[in-house]
């Protein structure tokens, strides 16, 4: 992949760049970029002459400046990126007739097991869920770029080990796996005498709207 960020030409040395100008550059580059850009990549814009701390501060300022907008600047696993605010999505959806995928419980549970227990084999997932994992489930997650094979367990059959990807974190607005919602304590599960969630029957009573 060729570097999408060509360094500034020598006319614009750092001396002539005011913080406001730097913010403009960051803004333009982040809006033009295909993927989130990490600070290390952004530093290359300025021939590495700006420290990560300075850039971080300017990015924070830039984020502040965009708060009154339909767009927000966020920091995810892959770096910084602009994205639309959550409240905008219903209107964006009206532009495109096709709906974003909603995943079945089978897909979501499989994803949860891979996210929290990774790396896991298909057998590990089946052990926890108590049912076979359909190939289509793993395929859906792989196609989305959320999981991939990171190796094979050294047991007969050499089953593939699945793990979540950086795309998974990016797409869920997370910077690292530590930011995943914490697992419930076993103790609280044991003590929960009331069903906290809606009963499954009622869940399907309103089909994917």
């Amino acid at each position: 992949m060729s570097d999408p960020l060509t360094p500034l030409n020598s006319i614009n040395t750092l001396d002539t760049l005011s913080p406001a100008k730097i913010k403009q550059i960051l803004e333009a580059v982040l809006l033009a970029a295909q993927d989130p850009l990490p600070v290390t990549e952004l530093r290359k814009l300025f021939d590495n002459e700006l420290s990560a701390t300075v850039l971080g501060k300017l990015l924070e300022e830039l984020r502040e400046e965009w708060t009154d907008s339909g767009i927000e600047l966020v920091s995810v696993a892959g770096g910084w990126r602009f994205q639309t605010k959550a409240g905008m999505q219903p209107y964006l959806d009206r532009l495109t007739p096709q709906k974003a995928p909603r995943y079945s419980r089978a897909v979501l549970e499989t994803l949860a097991i891979i996210a929290y227990r990774q790396p896991v084999t298909r057998g590990d997932i089946e052990e926890i869920r108590g049912v076979n994992v359909a190939g289509s489930v793993l395929k859906a997650l792989t196609a989305r770029g959320w999981i991939d094979t990171v190796g094979h367990r050294n047991v007969p059959g050499k089953p593939a080990l699945f793990a979540t990807t950086q795309t998974f974190l990016n797409d869920l607005n997370l910077r690292s796996l530590e930011e995943l919602p914490p697992l419930e304590e076993m103790k609280s599960l044991i003590e929960s005498n009331n069903p906290t969630e809606e009963l499954p029957f009622e869940e399907t009573a309103t089909p994917a709207s």
């Binding site: 926890i128 869920r129 419930e184 599960l189």
Partner: protein
């Protein structure tokens, strides 16, 4: 139909506080009759899709009836579970296999609990239900985690990455190759071919397309290959020419990418489908 009317009629009763428990399980009052034992026939399909498997069904029964998960009344649970499975067997035998396995396990646990076991009284961990409880809790933990994971904002569903339109992003950057470099490489190959020239006279039918396929096949599995390596040292002049033409043709059809990072540097040829993966 009549049943569901009954169910409706019962709801206000259950909500009122001063009703008597219909049964007691482990001393705990059971306030409502297990309505879910009755499944209307048309609900069966919904039912099959609703539960993720035997563990999910068991959890539902346990939570629905507020059963103590560390002290599961096996007889009650097994009875209810089997009522569901019987319904399923009537319709979808294939799916019922995993559920049947669980039935066997439940009955085994139940029967082991019935057997007098005076010696094991001290060892608490030999509760035959322990492994089942462990699996149920582990599954419930993941099931709840999945729900919470789904609540996180999700790209494309809850937000979209913002990007401004940039013209040059739309055109594929073409491989940059200096004419002289190619010519130089060409002469090197010709010289090499000359050294290996032999005089066996034989008419060879060569086709550029065939060589194109061969080159693609050679490239498969490689990220990139050195330009020179595409030419067999034993190749005749004609073969060298055809191979060279084939490389050019492949580049023209965007099936390969020819790159050279520095002047006089190594020229690399790589299949374009490989670049898509990187």
């Amino acid at each position: 139909m009549k049943q569901s009317e009954q169910q409706e009629a019962m709801k206000p009763l259950i909500d009122s506080a001063d009703i008597h428990p219909v049964a007691r399980i482990c001393g705990e009052p059971l306030m409502e009759i297990p309505l879910d034992l009755y499944i209307p026939p048309d609900a069966l399909e919904v039912f099959l899709d609703t539960f993720q498997g035997p563990l999910d069904l068991l959890l539902y029964l346990i939570r629905k009836h507020n059963l103590e998960i560390l002290d599961i009344p096996m007889a009650e649970l097994t009875k209810q579970y089997m009522a569901y499975v019987t319904m399923m067997r009537a319709d979808q035998l294939e799916l019922a296999a995993e559920y049947l396995l669980m039935t066997a396990l439940l009955i085994e646990i139940k029967s082991r609990m019935l057997l007098p076991n005076p010696k094991a009284e001290i060892e608490e961990e030999h509760d035959p239900r322990a492994e089942l409880v462990r699996r149920l809790l582990e599954y419930e933990q993941m099931k709840n985690a999945a729900l919470r994971l789904n609540e996180l904002p999700q790209a494309e569903r809850d937000f979209t990455t913002a990007r401004i339109w940039i013209e040059h992003k739309t055109t594929e950057p073409l491989p940059t190759i200096n004419m002289d470099d190619l010519r130089h490489a060409w002469i090197t190959i010709l010289t090499r071919a000359k050294v290996n020239r032999h005089h066996q006279i034989k008419r060879e039918t060569l086709s550029v397309r065939a060589y194109m396929s061969q080159i693609l096949r050679d490239l498969r599995g490689h990220k990139q290959v050195e330009f020179y390596d595409l030419f067999s040292p034993a190749a005749t002049v004609a073969e060298v020419v055809i191979t060279f033409l084939a490389v050019l043709e492949l580049a023209k059809e965007l099936l390969v990418e020819i790159t050279q990072t520095e002047t006089f540097g190594m020229i690399y040829v790589r299949p374009t489908d490989a670049t898509q993966f990187n």
